[in-house]
C-alpha cells in the first residue's frame, strides 16, 4: 500500500530579483508503507520545499498529495489540510525543541493538544522517552542538554503520537560526525519498532545511502532519478547523479566505431569496448575506484600527484590536458612523475550538458 503519493506536484514562486523560479517541477512519487525514503540533493534543489508541501507548510502551485489514501492537498479541487490535521511526525534540522518547556512537557505537547487523558499522556511519554534513551531527564530543560539529547527529544516528541509518517528535515546535520552515526542507527531502530514511513531529507550522500530503502536525487527542482541506493550509485542516469553520489571523473570524448577518443586530440584512444555502440560527442564518467592502474596495459600516461589516504592511495594521472583521479590499494605504489597505464572499467556515457542547463544552475546559485 502506498502511504505517501505525490502527483504532478509543482511549486513556483515569483521574486523581484529573479522573476519566476520553479522550485519543484512535476514531482511524481509513491512511497510504500514502512519504507524509508530519502530526498537527496544540493541545497536549493527543492527537496525541503517538497517536504514542507507534504507537511502542509507550503501550498502547491499544481498537483495533489495523498497521505494514507487521504487527499490532503490539491490546488485545483481547492483542498488543503493544515499541518496540524495531517497527523505526521516531524523532526527539524534546528531541533525545534521548545526552550521554555522541560523534556517531559516537550514530549507531552502533541498529546496535550489532542486532549488525551492525563494517565495516558504519562504512560506514552514515559515510553517515548525510554525508546529515545532519555529516561530520568523529564524535569530537565533543553538548554541544559547536548545537541544529541535535544535531537532525541525532538524524535521522542515525534514518535509519541505513533504517527504513520515521519518527516525528517536534515535532522542530523547539526550533530557532530560521531553522534550522527549513532543517531542514524537510532532512527532505523525506532522505525523497526514503530513501523512508520520515513521521508528523510538530506544533502549528505553517505547518510542517504546508509538509511534508505529507496531514494531520489533532485537538482534544480527536478527529480533526476529514483531507485535503491545501489541502483543510483551503479547506474546513474545522468552526469549530475553520477557526480552527486560517490566520486567521479568526467572526460570529454568523441566516439567512433566503438572507440572513445579524447575530444581535444582525436587520435588519442582512451577506451574501447565491444558494447560501445554510441557515436559522436560524449562525456565519459568513471569512478576513481573502477580504474585499473598498472605498468603495462591500457592508456599510457604519467602520474601527476600522489596523496596517501587512510584506506587507499589516490593518484592524479594526466589525460590530455586534464587529469583523472584513480584510487588503488596502498600496495600498488607509484611515484609522482612515474610512467603508468590506466585501464577503465564500466564507464558511463552522457550527452554533454546543454548551455541553458548551465545557465539555469548559475541563476539558481545566486538565490
Amino acid at each position: 500500500m502506498n502511504q505517501i503519493v505525490l502527483e504532478h506536484v509543482t511549486k513556483s514562486f515569483t521574486t523581484k530579483s529573479l522573476g519566476t523560479v520553479v522550485a519543484v517541477r512535476d514531482f511524481n512519487l509513491s512511497v510504500k508503507k514502512g519504507e524509508c525514503f530519502s530526498f537527496l540533493g544540493p541545497s536549493g534543489c527543492g527537496k525541503t520545499t517538497t517536504l514542507r508541501m507534504i507537511a502542509g507548510f507550503e501550498d502547491l502551485s499544481e498537483g495533489s498529495i495523498y497521505l494514507g489514501g487521504r487527499l490532503v492537498s490539491d490546488k485545483r479541487k481547492n483542498i488543503y489540510l493544515p499541518p496540524e490535521k495531517r497527523e505526521l511526525g516531524m523532526v527539524f534540522q534546528a531541533f525545534a525543541v521548545w526552550p521554555h518547556l522541560n523534556v517531559y512537557e516537550n514530549v507531552a505537547f502533541p498529546l496535550k493538544v489532542k486532549k488525551r487523558p492525563h494517565s495516558e499522556i504519562k504512560k506514552r511519554v514515559a515510553l517515548a522517552l525510554h525508546h529515545c534513551d532519555l529516561d530520568g531527564l523529564e524535569k530537565v530543560y533543553p538548554s541544559d542538554l547536548s545537541g544529541g539529547q535535544q535531537q532525541r527529544i525532538a524524535l521522542a516528541r515525534a514518535i509519541v503520537v505513533n504517527p504513520d509518517v515521519m518527516l525528517l528535515d536534515e535532522p542530523l546535520s547539526n550533530l557532530d560526525p560521531h553522534l550522527r552515526e549513532s543517531m542514524r542507527f537510532e532512527i532505523k531502530r525506532l522505525q523497526k519498532e514503530f513501523g512508520f514511513t520515513i521521508i528523510f531529507v538530506t544533502h549528505d550522500q553517505a547518510e542517504a545511502m546508509a538509511l534508505s530503502d529507496r531514494m531520489l536525487v533532485m537538482d534544480m527542482g527536478n527529480i533526476q532519478q529514483i531507485g535503491t541506493p545501489q541502483e543510483l550509485y551503479h547506474k546513474p542516469v545522468n552526469r549530475f547523479v553520477h557526480s552527486f553520489l560517490g566520486q567521479s571523473n568526467f572526460t570529454d570524448v568523441v566516439i567512433r566505431d566503438g572507440k572513445a577518443f579524447l575530444k581535444e586530440d582525436e587520435s588519442n584512444l582512451l577506451f574501447s569496448g565491444t558494447s560501445l555502440d554510441l557515436k559522436g560527442d560524449y562525456v565519459m564518467a568513471t569512478r576513481p575506484n573502477a580504474i585499473d592502474l598498472n605498468r603495462q596495459d591500457g592508456y599510457k600516461t604519467t602520474i601527476l600527484k600522489r596523496t596517501s589516504k587512510t584506506d587507499f592511495m589516490e593518484y592524479l594521472v594526466s589525460v590530455g590536458k586534464g587529469s583523472i583521479m584513480v584510487q588503488t590499494p596502498h600496495r600498488n605504489f607509484f611515484r609522482a612523475g612515474d610512467p603508468c597505464f590506466i585501464k577503465i572499467k564500466d564507464p558511463a556515457w552522457y550527452k554533454p550538458e546543454k548551455k541553458d542547463i548551465e545557465e539555469e544552475r548559475e541563476r539558481r546559485n545566486t538565490i
Binding site: N78, I79, E84, F92, A96, P99, F109, V113, K114
Partner: protein, 574 residues
C-alpha cells in the same frame, strides 16, 4: 461545509482573503497606529500651513523669522552642539578607562553610571539649581561666605549652565555605547598591532579609537537628538532668566496663546522647525548606523588585555571617584537634604530640619495626591496598552509579514524620533474635537494616548528582538504536533517571548512615571502627573515640598526598577 473550512485554511496559508487571526491583527495594528500616531502628526502639518480656508505660508515665515524664536533656535543649536561635544569627550574617556585600563573599583563606578538613567532630567536640573543657582544656591552661598566673595561664583541659570548639566546627564549615553563596543571588540585586533611593534598609545590612536568610531558616533547622535528635544533641563534652569530653547518656546507659546487659534498655529509651526532640525540629526544617524563598516563584534565577550596605568592609577581613580560623586551623588543628596529643610535657603542645621514637607504634600494637598494616583494609573495603563499593541505589531511585522509591514514599523517608531513637546501639540490638535467630535483635552485620556504613542516603540523593539530569536521551526514543530495557529501562539510563541514582554512593560512604565515633557502641555485641572506637580511646586516657589515630592518619585522609580531587575534575572527558562 467541510470544503469551506478547508478553503479558509488555504486562504490563510496564502495570506489573503477570508477572515483569520492574522488578518484581524493586521487591521487592528493599522487602526491603532493611524489613530495614535498619524492623526496627531497630520494635525500639526495641517495647522501650520492651513489658515482655515487656504494654504498659508506667511504665518510660518513670520514665526520662523520672529526675533525671539530665532533666539530660541540659536540656543537650541548651541546647547545641542556643545553638550554633545563635551558629553562625547567625557563618555569616551570613561569608557576607555573602564573598558581597557586596570583602574580599580570598576564595579562601583559602573553602578554610579547607571544612576543618572533612573533620575528624570528635570529633577536633576532642579537639584543642580538648588546648589548653583545665581541667587540662592547652597554651594554658591557657601563659597561666597568661605572666600568673602560679593558675587556668586557660578550662575547655572545660563546657556553655559544648561550645557554643563546636559553634559553631566547625557555623557553616560556615549559611555554605554562605547564600553559595550570595547567589550565586544576582538582583543586580537589590538594584540596583533602590539605584536607588529606598535606602542600602547599608538594602538589606542590607530586601532582602538577608529574601531569604536561607529559606537562613538551613534552615542554622540543620541545625545544630540535627546538634547535638541529636551524640555526638562532648559525649562528648569532657563525659565527664570527667559532663556528659551525650541521645546520650551513651543510650550511658552502654547501657554501664552491660552487656546487661541493663532497661538496654536504658531506653536505648530515652531514644532515643524524643531522636527526639521531633529530629523537632520536622525538622518545622519541612520546613515552612520547602516554604514556598519567595521565588523568588530565577535559573539561572546572576550578578555581584553588591560593596559596598566602604573603611576597614573591612583590619581585617575581619585579624580574619577570625585567627578562621579559630584555629578551623581551630590544632586541626590541635595534633593534629600532640601526635602527635610523647613524652608529653602535655610542652612542644614538640626533645628531647621523637619518632616513637614512630606506631611504637607500628602496631607491636605489634593493636587499632589492626585498626581501620584494619576501617574501610577497612567504608567500602568500606558505600559499595558503598549505591551498589547507593541507585541501584536512585532508579531505582525516579523512573523505574519504582510505587504505593508515596513509602513507599520515606520509609523510605530515615528513618535520615538519626534520631540515629546511636538507629539503633545499634535495630540491637543487631534483630540480637541477635530475627529468625530471626540474631546479628550484636559482629561487624563489625552495624556494616556500621548504616552502610548511615545513609548510604543520601546515594546516593539524588545518584543521584536525576542520574536526574531524564535526560529520558525519552533512554531512549525507545534503545528506538526497538531496544534492550531491560535494554540501555537498561546503555548509556544508567547511563552517564549514572555521575558522580553515583561521587560518591555517596565521599559514603558518607568519613563511614564517620571514624564514631564508631554504632560506639561496636556495636563488638566484633575490630571496632573508627578512630573507636573513637582514642576509646579517648584515654579510657585514651594521648593522644599517640591524636593520632598521628588524624593518620593525617585523612591518609587527605584522600587519599580528593582522589581524589573528581579523579574528579568529570573529568566533561566527563557
Amino acid at each position: 461545509m467541510f470544503s469551506r473550512a478547508i478553503n479558509r485554511d488555504l486562504a490563510h496559508l496564502e495570506g489573503k482573503g477570508g477572515f483569520s487571526l492574522d488578518r484581524l491583527m493586521i487591521i487592528l495594528c493599522y487602526v491603532a497606529l493611524i489613530t495614535v500616531v498619524i492623526l496627531p502628526v497630520f494635525m500639526i502639518l495641517y495647522y501650520a500651513f492651513w489658515d482655515g480656508t487656504k494654504i498659508d505660508i506667511a504665518m510660518f515665515k513670520q514665526v520662523i523669522f520672529q526675533k525671539s524664536n530665532i533666539r530660541s533656535m540659536w540656543n537650541t543649536l548651541v546647547i545641542g552642539v556643545f553638550s554633545t561635544a563635551l558629553a562625547t569627550a567625557v563618555g569616551v574617556f570613561f569608557a576607555w578607562l573602564l573598558g581597557r585600563s586596570d583602574i580599580p573599583m570598576k564595579g562601583l563606578m559602573k553602578f554610579l553610571f547607571s544612576i543618572p538613567f533612573m533620575i528624570p532630567p528635570f529633577l536633576a536640573a532642579m537639584s543642580w539649581d538648588m546648589m548653583f543657582s545665581g541667587r540662592g544656591g547652597y554651594v554658591n552661598k557657601a563659597l561666597m561666605s568661605l572666600f568673602n566673595l560679593t558675587k556668586a561664583p557660578f550662575n547655572i541659570n545660563s546657556v553655559a549652565g544648561i550645557i554643563v548639566i546636559e553634559v553631566v546627564y547625557y555623557f553616560p549615553f556615549v559611555y554605554m555605547q562605547v564600553v559595550s563596543a570595547l567589550e565586544r571588540m576582538d582583543p586580537t585586533l589590538e594584540e596583533s598591532a602590539r605584536i607588529a611593534g606598535a606602542s600602547q598609545l599608538y594602538v589606542i590612536r590607530r586601532i582602538t579609537l577608529p574601531l569604536t568610531i561607529p559606537a562613538i558616533s551613534s552615542g554622540m547622535l543620541l545625545v544630540l537628538i535627546t538634547s535638541l528635544s529636551n524640555y526638562g533641563i532648559p525649562a528648569m534652569l532657563g525659565y527664570s532668566q527667559s532663556i528659551f530653547t525650541l521645546p520650551t518656546m513651543i510650550v511658552e507659546l502654547m501657554n501664552r496663546a491660552g487656546g487661541s487659534f493663532e497661538g496654536i498655529r504658531q506653536s505648530a509651526a515652531l514644532s515643524i522647525v524643531l522636527v526639521f532640525i531633529v530629523s537632520i540629526a536622525l538622518l545622519v544617524q541612520r546613515r552612520l548606523l547602516t554604514h556598519g563598516r567595521y565588523d568588530i563584534i565577535k559573539g561572546k565577550s572576550m578578555r581584553p588585555m588591560l593596559i596598566k596605568l602604573r603611576g597614573a592609577k591612583y590619581p585617575l581613580l581619585a579624580f574619577s571617584l570625585l567627578f562621579l560623586s559630584l555629578i551623581v551623588v551630590a544632586p541626590i543628596v541635595m534633593i534629600i537634604l532640601v526635602s527635610f529643610v523647613k524652608a529653602y535657603g535655610l542652612p542644614f542645621l538640626a533645628k531647621n530640619l523637619t518632616l513637614a514637607n512630606f506631611r504637607r504634600i500628602f496631607v491636605g494637598n489634593i493636587m499632589v495626591r492626585d498626581s501620584v494616583k494619576n501617574s501610577l494609573f497612567l504608567a500602568f495603563s500606558a505600559a499595558s496598552f503598549c505591551l498589547l499593541l507593541g507585541t501584536m505589531l512585532a508579531y505582525v511585522i516579523y512573523k505574519v509579514k504582510p505587504k505593508g509591514g515596513t509602513a507599520l514599523e515606520m509609523m510605530a517608531v515615528l513618535p520615538y524620533s519626534l520631540p515629546g513637546t511636538v507629539m503633545a501639540i499634535g495630540c491637543i490638535l487631534a483630540w480637541s474635537g477635530a475627529f468625530f467630535g471626540i474631546t479628550l483635552y484636559n482629561t487624563i485620556w489625552i495624556i494616556l494616548v500621548a504616552y502610548i504613542a511615545r513609548y510604543l516603540s520601546y515594546v516593539l523593539k524588545s518584543s521584536s528582538a525576542a520574536l526574531q530569536q524564535v526560529h520558525g521551526s519552533l512554531e512549525e514543530a507545534a503545528r506538526s504536533c497538531g496544534a492550531s495557529h491560535m494554540q501555537t501562539l498561546k503555548d509556544v510563541t508567547l511563552p517564549l517571548i514572555k521575558p522580553a514582554m515583561i521587560s518591555g512593560f517596565f521599559l514603558v512604565f518607568l519613563p511614564c512615571m517620571r514624564e514631564l515633557t508631554t504632560s506639561i502641555l496636556l495636563y488638566g485641572p484633575k490630571s496632573r502627573t508627578l512630573g507636573v506637580a513637582i514642576y509646579q511646586l517648584r515654579i510657585n516657589g514651594q521648593i522644599a515640598p517640591a524636593a520632598a515630592l521628588s524624593v518620593v518619585t525617585i523612591t518609587l522609580i527605584i522600587i519599580c526598577n528593582n522589581i524589573v531587575k528581579a523579574i528579568t534575572r529570573d529568566k533561566k527558562r527563557g
